[in-house]
Symmetry: C2
């Protein structure tokens, strides 16, 4: 029997992830000690209510409400309470007391990451956060270490399981948004107030973290462009399917040179069409996946469960073993690399493709007129499909005019030229209605 | 302008990967220095022939044939020559001289890994090998670090691009094996002698590396069970498609308790059917993917380009930056964890599912007879599909008897009971021919 040095692990938070982490650390103690080269002793689990029910077994004597004493005596502090305060203060205390810190707190990292990383660098500690994005999916280490010698060009991520579950149900079962949301709520995938998921706030936090890491820069959360998916209709999803696409809520991080030659990054969250044969199109249910395009490596994808107590605990435990190995080896932590200091460019400088669905008056010359309207604004059309035969009653009169539905997919165009084009379409007398405008990603 | 400490990088090998690594290190020197916290100076590229053509630019003065001097003066040695010797000797020299070593050499790791890791541990250096499996795909770090707190149950890997390209062509274009191999050769995916790929030797080396890492044990290459794909026919691929499967050459690493209660691992390479809706089924062309099932994390998949000079260079460069960060932080490397010391169990103790295709005499009672034959050997049948109407001429006589084709999918059974069942089927008078026996993986 090998005798290991003991490392003292403090866990802040006894919720679904915290309870699993504590329980697995205790249950698999010997095995993890052998892997880490050090014993991992759970010295306490800080909770608000000592008597609350736990989703996994924690010995009663480990529960405590005295967070500050717990932090002071620990080599490794695991923050799993979420939110900004008191998580931020406690992490700062832990780093200042010389502990390595592990967190799954995406909201805190997306807003106060630079402050935390700076202190960690100053004191020579390390801040681990594999569980903050993509749950159990290893994505932080691959970006931080495996791709450290490459140049990431673009990340397309399905990083919110709730919205993927909803959109997947709409696509595969023909549910309306409301029906799919109700199903997600019933299964516990969506919270009582689903705003953070549906409106893309959760995905935006993860996008800020991924972009900072991938581009070695600091991306403030308030510069992440965000559009939710609450206006996506079943009609759009069905039409997308017919055209060979699937609608996903994507977190997109991109290196970009804008129209004035400024090098920067674009970080945005919005619904988008992706081609059915794109690897992300096969991500079903509440799963997550991060698709990375790098200069040398080409296309990579990381796929798995994006949430869940025990799944997230897996990522946290990996960080705990890594921190322990680092303690055993000695030396300071590796500082977060933010040297490239790239500006975050506004959505208006992004170029992407668009699918625009219009109903138009079905008369000779209309298509040519619409096409020239795109050309006038510098937007080049790749494909137009037309379905004739619908009849609309305009203006309440019964002078019913035959209309046609046009589905137009553009080549890459800037958001600003697209906005001007859409404005002109809306004003055009031959356009009966602008049915849908969606970005198209993942085409090459 | 920050002044960094310089680390001296020696590259052994100027082939397609070596030349790309050297060229990218020089080209992106400032950027990589900022990420690593140290300058990365290429002090030389050891080659056999100073005048050979290179696939990427290397300044002439860096080329050398004096390998031993190059190694002695280096902080980081990158071995990209492949094969066992002299690669092994040079890596041992490099570790002994205190350098960290980076290698993409799967053959060497699969056969002499323990010797190399042991020396690295003794001298406090680190051996990095992200490029040895899955080319550009980060899979070593996720298994070594991100999943260090979890228990891997099974790995299903498409780790050989050549065979995946061939099987994918057979599946999607209806090529015969020979046609698909010819196409792979023409595109440079297959070598002049494709034995190492087709017969699964390459995949077996990678399976040994993945299993050692995932199960914290040592898996000797000669205990990896290996069947190539040279006997896979277009008929089998087409029949698989009809039944909802796709044929892939898989590297399978599995925790297992055998019939006698012995805990161990099974490591094997063979063609297998996987369901069309399994994430691995969507891995097309020469791409690789590693599907990992872990106790807490659930199912994960890592996908990307499995080969190619510049793609593999991405993985090597990531290791170089990691090694440099470690040098800057100081302290010894993290030793490879092989504490669990699990036996590698023979193929006879593996349990999996099988698809057996038979033609039988079409007469009353045959199906019952075949079913009881399975039952006698303890193999439980999940599904039988029958297509009647084929007519075979038996024994050269013209007493043509109507035959039926049965496709039988079993529940999990041991290889040994399956072998007995297949023997009995072959001997059965009602079986006209045993068309195909294939393992089925990835079903739950």
């Amino acid at each position: 029997m090998i005798e290991y040095r003991n490392l003292r692990v403090a866990i802040l938070g006894g919720g679904s992830v915290g309870a699993q982490v504590a329980s697995l650390l205790i249950q698999h103690g010997d095995e993890l000690a052998a892997r880490a080269g050090a014993g991992l002793e759970v010295v306490g689990v800080a909770v608000r209510n000592l008597d609350a029910e736990r989703s996994a077994d924690i010995p009663k004597h480990l529960l405590t409400t005295d967070v500050e004493s717990l932090i002071l005596g620990a080599d490794i502090v695991v923050e799993l309470i979420g939110g900004i305060e008191p998580a931020r203060t406690w992490i700062l205390q832990a780093l200042n007391s010389g502990a390595d810190v592990i967190t799954a707190n995406k909201a805190l990292l997306a807003t106060h990451g630079p402050e935390l990383f700076e202190l960690a660098g100053q004191v020579g500690a390390q801040l681990y956060y594999e569980a903050a994005v993509g749950g159990a999916i290893p994505i932080i280490r691959p970006l931080r270490d495996s791709l450290a010698g490459d140049r990431v060009k673009r990340i397309l991520g399905i990083v919110n399981g709730t919205t993927n579950y909803i959109l997947d149900r709409m696509d595969t079962r023909g549910d309306s948004l409301d029906e799919a949301l109700a199903a997600a709520t019933a299964l516990g995938y969506a919270e009582a107030d689903p705003t953070a998921d549906i409106e893309g706030f959760d995905a935006a936090q993860k996008a800020a973290i991924l972009a900072s890491l991938a581009f070695h820069t600091t991306v403030p959360l308030d510069l992440v462009y965000r559009e939710g998916m609450s206006s996506i209709t079943l009609d759009q999803v069905v039409a997308a399917r017919k055209a060979g696409y699937v609608v996903k809520l994507l977190a997109i991080c991109e290196r970009l040179t804008d129209q004035n030659g400024v090098d920067g990054v674009s970080v945005r969250v919005h619904p988008a069409l992706i081609p059915r044969d794109h690897p992300l199109a096969a991500v079903h249910g509440a799963n997550n996946a991060v698709f990375v395009e790098a200069e040398a490596a080409g296309s990579l994808m990381f796929y798995g469960a994006g949430a869940g107590g025990v799944q997230t605990a897996s990522a946290v435990l990996g960080d705990i073993v890594s921190a322990a190995r680092r303690h055993v080896a000695g030396g300071p932590g590796v500082a977060e690399s933010t040297h490239s200091d790239l500006p975050v460019l506004p959505i208006s400088s992004v170029t992407t493709r668009y699918q625009i669905t219009l109903t138009v008056v079905d008369q000779p010359g209309v298509l040519a007129g619409i096409a020239s309207l795109f050309a006038e604004h510098g937007v080049s059309v790749e494909a137009v499909t037309q379905s004739v035969g619908t009849v609309s009653i305009r203006d309440g009169h019964d002078d019913a005019k035959p209309t046609a539905t046009l589905v137009i997919v553009t080549h890459e165009a800037t958001e600003s030229s697209l906005a001007l084009t859409v404005g002109a379409l809306t004003d055009s007398p031959v356009v009966s209605s602008l049915v849908s405008v969606l970005r198209v990603e993942g085409l090459h």
